[in-house]
């Protein structure tokens, strides 16, 4: 199985927005940034801020943290833009910086999710005359509320290591290809696939009751 088969065609996120129409613009903007034009960098930020924010949010599950990390990442990109040689696309380079900033932050600090799973979210009502307390584990025949499902998913993602979160977000949410993820993370395609294997296994274990009851 070759790299092309594993990687497939570039994802819409990397190819559609960047490698076709926007590529010359990005390089032009980067050159201007390298001359110290902050206005040109502002254009690049405007272009990529939403995607970058979405990716970081997927990893940290907290809007304020995602905002701060996106700011840090862009600032770091500005400071090191003179080192960008155009060997990869600007977006891949930027994504790599953002991912590293986020992984470093996750390693340093335990981010709390906006909607960290909390039993108080779904209070258990006990009948006045009841002899037993109902289990907090959802009954199979009950359909979970969407908010609760989302909380369970976010809680499960928060239990993954930063590297495993990164591959899950990039593959399952951003829908990037293996080779794109490998390029961003600076590792081999085999490593990406191995991380995906373990991350998926863990999510399956943590969310088994969720996806089986839906």
């Amino acid at each position: 199985m070759g790299l092309n088969e594993l990687g497939g065609h570039p994802s819409k996120h990397l190819a559609g927005d960047y490698r076709t129409e926007a590529e010359p613009d990005d390089f032009d903007l980067v050159k201007r940034c390298q001359k110290g034009e902050a206005v040109a960098f502002d254009e690049l930020v405007t272009k990529y801020r939403s995607k970058v924010f979405s990716m970081i949010y997927g990893m940290v599950q907290n809007e304020q943290d995602a905002w701060d990390l996106a700011q840090d990442g862009f600032l770091k990109a500005w400071r090191s833009i003179h080192r960008f040689k155009g060997q990869s696309s600007f977006y891949t380079w930027l994504y790599r910086i953002m991912t590293n900033v986020t992984i470093d932050a996750l390693r340093r600090k335990n981010f709390r999710s906006d909607t960290e799973f909390d039993d108080r979210v779904a209070p258990i009502e006990v009948e006045p005359g009841s002899r037993t307390t109902p289990s907090s584990v959802p009954l199979p025949d009950l359909t979970m509320e969407r908010a609760e499902v989302r909380q369970r998913i976010e809680s499960a993602i928060n239990k993954l290591s930063p590297e495993h979160r990164a591959v899950i977000v990039m593959k399952e949410i951003q829908e990037l290809q293996y080779n794109e993820i490998a390029e961003i993370l600076g590792c081999s395609i085999g490593t990406v696939m191995s991380r995906l294997f373990y991350a998926r296994k863990k999510l399956q274990t943590l969310l088994k009751d969720v996806y089986e009851n839906l």
Partner: protein
């Protein structure tokens, strides 16, 4: 494709060829059910982990540009760099170089023996009649030692006081 993890991941993502997938399924009959389970979870993930939109986009940019304007520009940092830590490094390097130069010029070193000893060795080599005799000259702390190896005896008529 080497490891089981890689094969499994490619299998779940439908990236194995039909024949490869068939062989893999034959090796592990539980795979089909596992793939179906993963498909369920994947659907749940994609349905619920919708991308969150960045709000206050203008403020995002203005805050960032504010940080950029507060940060020293690269040209300024370059100038500061040459006058800052690199300047100290260059100063240190210059001091070390000057020290080495002083050591080379002022501290005596090398062969301190009589400069004529080399000449003596050459003369001995060329004037020794017996080819079995080899002459070497060593200089140690101001003393010149002449070794004549292979010489059985000193000729009676040789004046050693010369």
């Amino acid at each position: 494709m080497k490891t089981f993890e890689e094969r499994y991941t490619a299998y779940l993502d439908g990236l194995l060829s039909e024949s490869e997938a068939a062989i893999f399924e034959q090796e592990r009959p539980a795979l089909v059910a596992q793939k179906a389970e993963w498909a369920k979870l994947q659907r749940v993930l994609r349905e619920n982990l919708v991308s969150v939109e960045l709000t206050n986009t203008d403020f995002f940019n203005s805050q960032l540009l504010q940080q950029i304007s507060n940060a020293p520009s690269r040209s300024r940092s370059l100038v500061a760099g040459w006058l800052g830590i690199p300047w100290l490094a260059w100063g240190g390097l210059g001091a070390v170089t000057a020290g080495i130069a002083l050591f080379i010029t002022l501290i005596p070193h090398g062969d301190l023996s009589d400069p004529g000893s080399g000449y003596v060795a050459q003369v001995l080599k060329t004037t020794t009649i017996d080819p079995n005799v080899s002459a070497t000259v060593e200089s140690r702390k101001g003393i010149t030692i002449i070794k004549l190896e292979g010489l059985e005896k000193v000729p009676a008529d040789e004046d050693l006081t010369r």
